[in-house]
Amino acid sequence: MEEQRRLEMSKKIMVIDDEKIVVDMAKMALEHDGYVVETFLNGESALARLKEEAFDVVVTDFKMKGIDGMEVLRTVKEQYPKTKVIMITAFANLDTAIEALRGDVFDFFPKPVKIKELKASIERALEQ
């Protein structure tokens, strides 16, 4: 039973944030739950990796230098319409939320992030 769950859970998750600690902690928590996690510190390297392979869920910071969260969202949706994107932002600004929702974001988390809520959101995303 536990083994089956593990297998089912071996979904691929990408985490993008320019704060090293954020991606490290996300990786630590999600890997503990059995996900395959890859982390990136900027949008450029993340999009390059996405060209090679599809991910089930992409968790990205909204505000980043260079390619930002919105651009990651658009590119992912173009390439892999089924991939779910979860956005993290320092500010729960209404404008950014609306913009993200228009871009078909799956969920939206303000900082500081509650890891349990993030995990629950990822689970919901994978169920769909």
């Binding site: 503990h32 992030v113 890891i115």
Partner: protein
């Protein structure tokens, strides 16, 4: 006197002058006309007198009565002509002279009558006749000549006077025009300079307001405004601080939210996964928490530095000493980043009056920024120079990545940062410090080539360094 009045008066003066000359010319013309008329009349009379004297000579030679009748006729004609034109004549030679002519003519006529009665055999009367005739003709000839001469004199005097007046008017027009326009330009320049210095935040005044004209009032008004601005300077700075409070709050929140989020995530994982973590893992996580708290502390400290109303302790100082000290302070950082620092300080710089600690803080900020902008092997060049304008300049030049033009106007704003690790307060604090010293800080940058910060500080006194 107001400029408006000056222009008006000089205009009136010129017009009055021209009218006067016109009247004078008119008067001259009338005089000339009257004299010419007299000359014309006297020419006729002279002809008549000449005929009279010819008849007289003929009578004395031939003793023929018909010459006497001729003379009478001539005397009557002349008398009539004089009567008809006596106004014109008296206007020129005067009533007394007119009377004299008439009396000469009467005398002549009487002598002729006597000769007529005596039958022409009286040599005494003949002599008298010759004398009176000569007097009459001589007098008239004289007068005519005199008046002709006068006409010539009047015309030549008028000609000279008109020419001089023309020169006078020309001279006045040019000189007054120049004087006025020069005065206006000079005043405008002074006002322009004053406005410029006020625009630069230098609330200077034109102390010596001499002119009582419109410019005097304008200068007084600007002086008043400058004083008001200076008095309100503190209020304005305070108001600006209030205005930037919104920006400030957003900036602080943004600067703090990231380390806060990091600590939050580390603690959540630590609590959740405590049993799965090795001792090393736990220590590593706690160390990262400690680092993040330091980051937050730096933000708060910088913020306090920024918001504090600094009591500036101004002291006379040598800017080169401050620069040297700052570079020494940063030498370690420079060495670690493998940055070569070239310091080129001009000797004999004027001294400055500054808060040494604050200027040092600015220099350290600029050196840190330059170091972070450069990759190892970069060159930092620091220069001091004396300006021609009683100012001392410090240049901090790096060969770093440069600042994109679209960011240049923002780099002194609080919390504006192009570095992920920066608080965005360093340059804004530096800007505040230099402005407090009545100085200026500017930036020039070319992407890929480097950035130069220029600090400009007012020189203090004339003392030179050794």
């Amino acid at each position: 006197m107001k400029i408006e009045h000056k222009i008006l008066y000089s205009y009136f003066f010129n017009v009055a002058f021209i009218v006067l000359i016109g009247l004078f010319a008119l008067h001259n013309m009338n005089q000339v006309l009257a004299k010419l008329r007299f000359v014309e009349i006297s020419d006729d009379l002279n002809a008549s007198f000449l005929e009279m004297r010819i008849s007289e000579k003929n009578f004395l030679l031939y003793k023929d009565e018909k010459w006497i009748a001729n003379i009478h006729e001539n005397i009557n004609d002349s008398m009539q002509a004089i009567e008809a034109t006596q106004d014109d004549i008296s206007r020129v030679i005067g009533a007394k002279n007119l009377q004299l002519i008439k009396s000469y003519l009467d005398e002549y006529s009487t002598v002729i009558d006597e000769i007529d009665k005596s039958g022409g055999k009286n040599p005494r009367l003949e002599t008298e006749l010759r004398a009176v005739g000569g007097k009459l003709r001589g007098f008239f000839k004289n007068k005519t000549q005199l008046e002709r001469q006068k006409v010539n004199d009047i015309i030549s005097t008028a000609k000279r006077l008109l020419f001089i007046s023309f020169l006078c008017i020309l001279f006045l027009a040019i000189v007054l025009g120049r004087v006025f326009s020069k005065k206006i330009v000079v005043s405008l320049r002074a006002i322009e300079g004053l406005a410029l210095s006020i625009a630069e935040g230098n609330f200077s005044k034109i102390e010596d307001v001499k002119s009582k004209d419109e410019f005097g009032s304008v200068i007084l008004a600007i002086n008043r405004m400058s004083k008001e601005l200076e008095d309100r300077g503190e209020e304005i700075i305070q108001a600006k601080k209030l205005a930037s409070l919104g920006v400030l709050t957003a900036g602080v929140a943004h600067e703090l939210i990231n380390p806060l989020n990091n600590i939050s995530m580390i603690t959540q994982n630590s609590l959740e996964l405590y049993d799965y973590l090795t001792k090393e893992n736990r220590l590593a996580l706690l160390n990262r928490v400690a680092e993040e708290t330091k980051r937050m502390e730096a933000v708060v400290r910088n913020l306090l530095d920024f918001s504090k109303t600094r009591e500036v302790k101004l002291k006379e100082a040598n800017i080169n000493d401050i620069v040297r000290k700052s570079v020494q302070l940063m030498q370690n950082t420079l060495d670690l980043s493998n940055i070569e620092a070239k310091v080129n300080l001009e000797i004999n710089l004027p001294r400055v009056r500054v808060d040494e600690h604050q200027i040092e803080q600015v220099m350290v900020n600029l050196i840190v920024n330059a170091t972070q902008a450069m990759s190892p092997g970069g060159r930092l060049s620091i220069e001091t120079r004396k300006g021609d304008d009683d100012k001392v300049y410090i240049y901090v030049k790096d060969t770093g990545q440069g600042i994109p033009p679209e960011y240049l106007s923002n780099i002194f704003d609080p919390f504006f940062s192009t570095k992920s690790s920066g608080t965005g307060l360093g340059l804004s604090v530096s800007y505040g410090i230099i402005k407090n010293h009545k100085g200026n800080i500017r930036v020039e940058s070319t992407v890929g080539v480097g950035t130069t910060f220029t600090i400009e500080l007012p020189a203090y006194g004339r003392t030179k360094e050794a």
